[in-house]
Structure formats: structure tokens, C-alpha cells
């Protein structure tokens, strides 16, 4: 079976976000951030991950999105903020995310702010492609 197109993935992600967050379809754009624009709470992120696992028949671990080994590593974190090394390590691990605003104030409690709808779509696209090969 061929992997779904990005547009097909986007449609399913959009539906999951509309269902989980009581937002309108037109609010769920590629650029929208889950926490700032769509008002998702951390429990909503967990809910959304469960819905995506079901919708795409994949497993998504918390670690793939918010790697605890980086976020709780004293070599990477000072006073709950990531240092340059930590940021570099995070960017390597969590691809597709938008770090531009986060970099200005890399507070580990605000890590979820880096996830846009587009990030999620790309993340799933990559996972599905990997499972095909």
C-alpha cells in the first residue's frame, strides 16, 4: 500500500486537532502553533498523540517529541533553560520543529511551543515513510 500524500496526512492531522481542541478547521493551518495559536494544553498534546497513533496506526513515544534525556541533562540545561549545546542537541533530535521563537527564550517548560501543525505533519510523514522501507 502506498504511503499517504502530505495533503492526506494534513487532512487527518487537521481533523484530530479540530476534534481534540474544539477549534475550527480554518484555524488549523500549517503554520499554527499548537500551544500558542490553537490553545492546546499539555494534556491536549497527550490526547492528540493518542488520536494520531490511532489514525495512522503508528506508535509515537513521548521521547520522540520531548526527549527527556536532553531536557533533564544538566550539561544542556541551566536554571530550566537550554544552553547552546542543549539547543543544538534538541534541534538534531526533533526535526521539522520551528525553533526560531523558542531560541529567544529556551525555557524547557515551554518546549511544546515549538510544535506547529506542519511539524506534526512532517513528523508523521517521516514515520510513515520509514515504516515503508
Amino acid at each position: 500500500m502506498a504511503a499517504p500524500s502530505r495533503q492526506e496526512i494534513f487532512k487527518k492531522v487537521q481533523q484530530a486537532l479540530v476534534d481534540a481542541l474544539s477549534v475550527e478547521e480554518n484555524e488549523v493551518t500549517e503554520e499554527a502553533t499548537l500551544t500558542r495559536d490553537l490553545q492546546a494544553e499539555s494534556i491536549d498534546i497527550l490526547d492528540i498523540v493518542f488520536r494520531l497513533e490511532k489514525a495512522f496506526n503508528i506508535k509515537i513515544s513521548q521521547e520522540e517529541l520531548t526527549p527527556r534525556d536532553i531536557l533533564s541533562n544538566p550539561e544542556y540545561v541551566n536554571n530550566r533553560k537550554l544552553n547552546a549545546a542543549g539547543l543544538a542537541a534538541l534541534k538534531q533530535r526533533v526535526k521539522h520543529a520551528d525553533f526560531s521563537k523558542f531560541e529567544q527564550d529556551p525555557d524547557i517548560d515551554k518546549i511544546l511551543d515549538v510544535f506547529t501543525v506542519g511539524t506534526i505533519v512532517s513528523f508523521i510523514e517521516e514515520k510513515l515513510a520509514a515504516s515503508q522501507s
Binding site: A20, L21, S22, E41, I43, D44
Partner: protein, 166 residues
Amino acid sequence: MKFVLIDRIVELESGRRIVAEKALSLAEEYLADHFPRFPVLPGVLMLEAMVQAAAWVVRERLDFAPSLVLLKEARNVTYKSFVAPGQVLTVEAECLELTQRESTFAARGHLAGREIVKGRLVLRHLTLAEYDAGWADTDERLRTEQRARFALLWKGCPAAADRAAV
């Protein structure tokens, strides 16, 4: 225990919006079970407070015509923190749609200015006489109960102003 989850209505824009308060007291007996050594307002009672606040918007707007206003659907009710004894939960419900039969609200709860709960509510309004004319007197009793309760909660209404003037 009285199943009244709103202590006071603070603001009411007819048919549109309500702000109300629920104060939590250690005297509320169920707290001994929820939880031992960590008493907090149960999440479903935060929901009930939001439902009751929204229901007052419906009753006031429809002049207490429906004798029963009930929760039909709750969606995406998200809990972010706890309410402890001595604290006051401020509940706000904004009416998105209201007909004779049903209404939809976006509701929120704040604690000292910080949002701790939010959700979407659909309420169903009905009278018993719609289904069996023999229950019309019960509908009237229910309406009388609700009007009296509303007068206690909403100091902005004329009956309360008269009492204050005495």
C-alpha cells in the same frame, strides 16, 4: 449536601455571558474522600459549576420557561490545576448559540486570574408537560424553586435590591 455549585453570580449579560463564583470550603464533606491529605475540588464539580452557570443564562433569557436544563454534551473539558479549600473558582460561560430547545457554551474557570479549566457544553432545555400534560404542576414547582434560587444568587435582580434597602 446541597448540589449547588455556584455561590454567587457576579455578572450577567442576558443571553450572552455569565460570570459566577464557587468558593471551596473544607466543610464540604466529600473532600475527605477527594483526596485524603490532598483535598481538592473534583474535576466533575468544576464541570458542574460551569454547567450551572450556563444554565442560569438559559433560564434568565427564556424567563424560566424550561423547567429542566440539563447537560447534553461536554466536549474537550481540560483540567490544568487544582482548587483547594479557601480558594474561589471564578466560572465564566459565553453563549455561542441559544434556542428554545438547546444551547451551546464555551466555558472557563479561573483561579486568581489564571485559567485552570475550560470546555464546550451543550445544554438541553425541556418541560415535563411536553411529554405528559399531567406533569405541568411539577414544571411549575420546578420553576418556582429555580426563580427563588436565582434571586439568592444574583444580587443584581430587583428582589435583592429591595432586601438590601431594608
